[in-house]
């Protein structure tokens, strides 16, 4: 069996298929899989040549045989796959070889990009792979080789399809470029984390590069990976001479470099584009009998996103805690209103402040947590490459998030309760992840460090049963507030030390719990944070927007020689003058962080001795920070509504007029809008504080239509409408007509704005309009986008065509003012 030989005995794959088929007459653009049916003899001949050259593993001619790439009614997929598998078996029979030839079902990418960056649903990719894999196993394939992949997300869909629907071993190889990255941005540790988390049998590199260029990537793979490695280079780089494409590494040279590849630790080798039976024969002649240098087990605790991995080490990692509604009024409201943007901004802000991982908790009693969790995870993964920490007690939400997460996430959390371990460990075993173990069990939280260490041991033992190694566990020894548990800090610190030292497991802690119920919490929190890091805290779940916490973090790393030459410290603090009490005012650990501090900074602008500018002027000029600080200084002197009417509205009108006349341009219009937005945000807080309810806003729903993934135009309109006092319900991009209708009905929307970029997507705009006309005739529809004009808009039945963003604002104003009268 292949699993028994893998990693112990050097195994040989075959070489290129495409280049050989082209030589036999395959046309550019023609689907090679049709040849399984029409040119069976040629396909069998190629397989046979490889088997005679000495290949142990032969790939079926099914690289593009998935429903998304291969859609030909005249060639039923099952038949194509079945004949492909039988061709390898037939070739092996004809070659009459003694030793076993394994038939590897070749599975290549779909050629589509998955959401959120493309338009292919994760589950649609899964479905396409599932089909071909079931056919392959049924036809008698011995293993599945997922290859030539460029996207970790697509890899995950393919591996899940293989694991959930077949019992076959799974090999995965991806294309890395010279930067040691996939086309979609993933680096080596990110790919290794994901694939080992999903428990594939072997992983590696194929295509893209020649053998020599693959050596540095192989070396990095060996640094991080613990499972057998596969290397399948091209025969060098493709060159075009006239009509011919040729590859510049000859069989003997290929063979020599492959010898080095084996010496450097590959366990399975073969060739990709441009390699021929001659390349493979030479390679096997040179490498036959070589020992496999086994991949050593690594102890790295790694989590990853689509792009990068975070490897736990000597320094302490920051897990941003702000996406968690507990005690956060604004986030609660955002969740209730389904305001995804608010969550994404919190994520970006924390990354900018230095977080390494983001905790994501969207649990509220009255929302659909599973749905919200999935949206939050996908949304965050379209704006940040930080790994995420899935934080929920709802097992359904946890599984849904683990499934659609692109990478290997942190999982928050499992506890020492049997019930919790029974539910969480199977998910971690299946999807991969680093799971936080809470040191509490059925009997509650032990009062002593001993008790907590014992529970940690119990969790480790139970995890082992699922094949979850220690490196994929991180213990939370729990910080209990010292206001009610006098020994809370002492016990936690001792438990930290012991779990790290005695159990050799990384640790995590929700640091700020320690001060619950005490005044001026940042003082206690930041000092406890330092003590915890010194006691072995691998990752603190903290608020990276808190200056006190970040100061503690930065100082600790400078002091313990974890910040080389104190360079990060100097960069961050070098320009700062020490002012007593600096920065602590806004540091309440709750919602206030991130908002502008009162007063103080107003004197910062107009530095050159010129007259200070008015609020109206700074907004017209689009100066965002100044708009915030001047507004803050005006609050208290003038009523919020007066500030709006006296300064903000005239500024916006002025800029809007200029835009229409062609003296102000889009970037300036938007800079003003952003400046006004920061002023409005402060005024809104003020109005809420005074207890007065805000003026009721008219709702406008905006969407980029189904099939369209460009949303910049819609986002421009959104910013402007919000400035003019409309409540915008942003439905996002690629929105099906039904979703728009549903929101219109539920929210009683009177005006919908639709955006489409291209002629191909105006069709779905038209569909949306006709659906709305039928089901919600009272709703008005305005449209905009690059290909539209008045004529086109009339033709598809829109009420209004906005040639630019301001026009839609004017239309909305006119529409609702009419209605008021």
């Amino acid at each position: 069996m292949i699993r028994e030989d893998l990693g112990k005995k050097l195994l040989f794959f075959d070489g290129g298929m495409g280049t050989l088929l082209q030589a036999k007459g395959l046309k550019p653009g023609e689907l090679p899989e049709t040849w399984n049916v029409d040119h069976a003899g040629d396909i069998i001949g190629i397989h046979q040549a490889y088997i005679e050259a000495g290949s142990d593993l032969v790939l079926t001619n099914t690289f593009g045989a998935n429903a998304l790439k291969f859609c030909r009614d005249d060639y039923p997929l099952e038949k194509v796959v079945q004949s492909a598998v039988s061709h390898v078996k037939e070739a092996a029979r004809r070659a009459g070889r003694e030793r076993e030839v394994y038939t590897a079902l070749d599975v290549g990418p779909t050629g589509k990009l998955l959401k959120p960056m493309g338009d292919l649903e994760f589950e649609a990719a899964y479905e396409a792979f599932r089909q071909v894999m079931i056919y392959g196993e049924r036809a008698g394939a011995d293993l599945i080789h997922i290859e030539t992949m460029s996207d970790t997300y697509e890899i995950k869909a393919a591996v899940l399809a293989a694991k959930e629907n077949t019992r076959l071993p799974v090999f995965v190889t991806a294309i890395f470029d010279e930067r040691k990255k996939l086309l979609t941005g993933a680096d080596v540790p990110a790919v290794v984390s994901l694939l080992e988390g999903l428990r594939v049998d072997a992983l590696g590199i194929n295509c893209g590069l020649g053998p020599a260029q693959m050596l540095p990537i192989l070396e990095e793979l060996r640094t991080y990976a613990s499972i057998p490695l596969i290397v399948k280079p091209n025969a060098g780089l493709p060159r075009q001479k006239g009509k011919e494409t040729f590859y510049d590494v000859l069989p003997q040279d290929f063979a020599q470099t492959m010898q080095t590849v084996v010496e450097k630790g590959a366990a399975v080798i073969g060739g990709c584009c441009g390699t021929t039976p001659e390349h493979i024969r030479s390679m096997i002649q040179v490498c036959k009998g070589m020992q496999v240098k086994p991949t050593e087990k690594k102890a790295f605790t790694m989590v990853s996103s689509y792009g990068q991995a975070v490897v736990f080490g000597k320094d302490s990692k920051i897990i941003g805690e702000r996406i968690n509604p507990t005690g956060k009024k604004k986030l609660k409201q955002a969740l209730k209103e389904h305001n995804l943007d608010y969550i994404l901004k919190e994520g970006i802000l924390q990354e900018e402040k230095g977080a390494h991982i983001l905790d994501v908790n969207v649990g509220l009693p009255d929302i659909d947590e599973t749905k919200m969790m999935v949206e939050a995870v996908q949304g965050l993964q379209s704006v940040t490459s930080l790994p995420l920490q899935i934080d929920t007690v709802d097992i359904r939400a946890m599984e849904a998030a683990l499934r659609i997460y692109n990478g290997k996430p942190m999982v928050n959390s499992v506890s020492g309760k049997q019930e919790s371990m029974d539910a969480v460990f199977p998910l971690v075993a299946k999807y991969g992840g680093v799971v936080i173990g809470l040191t509490l069990d059925e009997a509650g939280i032990p009062q002593t460090a001993d008790g907590r260490v014992e529970i940690a041991e119990k969790i480790i033992r139970e995890a082992e049963k699922y094949g979850i190694e220690k490196k994929d566990l991180v213990m939370d020894v729990l910080s209990m507030t010292i206001s009610s548990e006098p020994q809370g800090a002492i016990v936690a610190l001792e438990a930290l030390r012991r779990v790290r030292k005695e159990l050799g497991v990384h640790t995590v802690l929700g640091v700020s719990n320690i001060s619950f119920g005490l005044p001026c919490r940042p003082v206690i929190n930041s000092h406890f944070y330092t003590m915890a890091m010194y006691s072995g805290l691998s990752a603190g779940i903290v608020n990276p927007c808190s200056e006190d916490m970040m100061k503690a973090y930065d100082a600790y790393h400078a002091l313990l020689c974890l910040d080389e030459n104190c360079s990060r410290y100097v960069e961050k603090y070098g320009a700062l003058k020490v002012v007593s009490g600096l920065g602590s005012a806004a540091d309440t650990g709750g919602d206030a962080a991130g908002s502008a501090g009162p007063g103080g900074s107003v004197s910062n602008f107009g530095k050159s001795g010129s007259q200070p500018m008015s609020l109206q002027t700074v907004i017209e000029k689009g100066l965002k920070e100044e708009a915030g600080s001047i507004t803050a200084s005006l609050i208290g002197k003038e009523k919020p509504l007066d500030i709006i009417n006296r300064w903000l509205i005239p500024a916006l009108d002025q800029v809007g007029k200029g835009f229409e006349q062609g003296t102000v341009f889009l970037p300036q219009l938007l800079m003003s809008a952003e400046a006004a937005k920061s002023a409005f945000a402060l005024l809104k807080q003020e109005i809420e504080k005074s207890g007065a309810s805000e003026e009721k806003k008219e709702k406008v729903a905006l969407a980029t239509v189904k099939g369209d993934i460009h949303d910049i135009g819609k986002n421009i309109v959104k910013v402007l409408l919000e400035n003019y006092g409309f409540a915008v319900i942003d439905l996002g991009k690629d929105v099906p007509p039904k979703t728009i209708l549903k929101v219109v009905k539920e929210e009683g929307i009177r005006l919908v704005g639709l955006s489409a970029l291209m002629t191909t997507t105006v069709v779905s705009m038209e569909e949306t309009i006709s659906l709305l006309r039928r089901e919600a005739p009272e709703c008005r529809i305005m449209v905009g986008g690059a290909v539209l004009n008045q004529e086109y808009a009339d033709q598809i039945g829109a009420d209004f065509y906005g040639k630019d963003a301001m026009q839609s604002v004017y239309y909305a104003q006119e529409l609702f003012s009419h209605e008021k009268q």
Binding site: I175, T184, K243, D341, S382, V383, T384, M758
Partner: protein
Amino acid sequence: MDQLTKEAIRYLGYGRHAVDDQTLKLVADSFWNLQTVISRKSVYRIFALERADEEQVQFENVEIHSRNLGKNLAGCEKIVLFGATLGIETDRLISRISKMDMAKAVVLQACAAALLEEYCDACQRQIAEELREEGYFLRPRFSPGYGDFSIQYQQMMVQMLDTAKKIGLTLTEGCMMAPSKSVTAVIGAGKSHLACHRQGCEACSKKDCIYRRDTL
């Protein structure tokens, strides 16, 4: 002002108007941010052109119906299929900045477009050099979506060039490119050296477009 900045400003719709310092600073910042995320990649293949007139363009087993393209390729013996992209990280950056600052987002968008054009020009010069050795001269590149050359032909281009695998360029159902800062184009090559003034932008029939090059 360098050429890239000028192009970015044109995409922002400034036409002949003076540009304010605030916007110029945003442009400079945007180019700086983009440098760290863009990953330029391109691919091309050269085919013998079998027919190119106003009725039909034909090569390999491909047929294209487009008057404008037929005109563009008239008199050519070869056709180059070309694809290029700045990579998906560019989209992520724009998407991220859209959440924080729309002014910056539109400027990033324009700067990325300018970088992409510059890159395509550089690639084209290289292809021109290579073909020059064989005695061929290149015509201006012509993309699906120009004139009556339907964007549906992008599917053929993506398939013939295998762009998904080679450079990560994919199409959505609606024929949009992902990554969005990508180009597919055909370039004709003929034995005669024609002075071609009518390039993609100038050849367009939308005469009142504020982004138009030849009115600036």
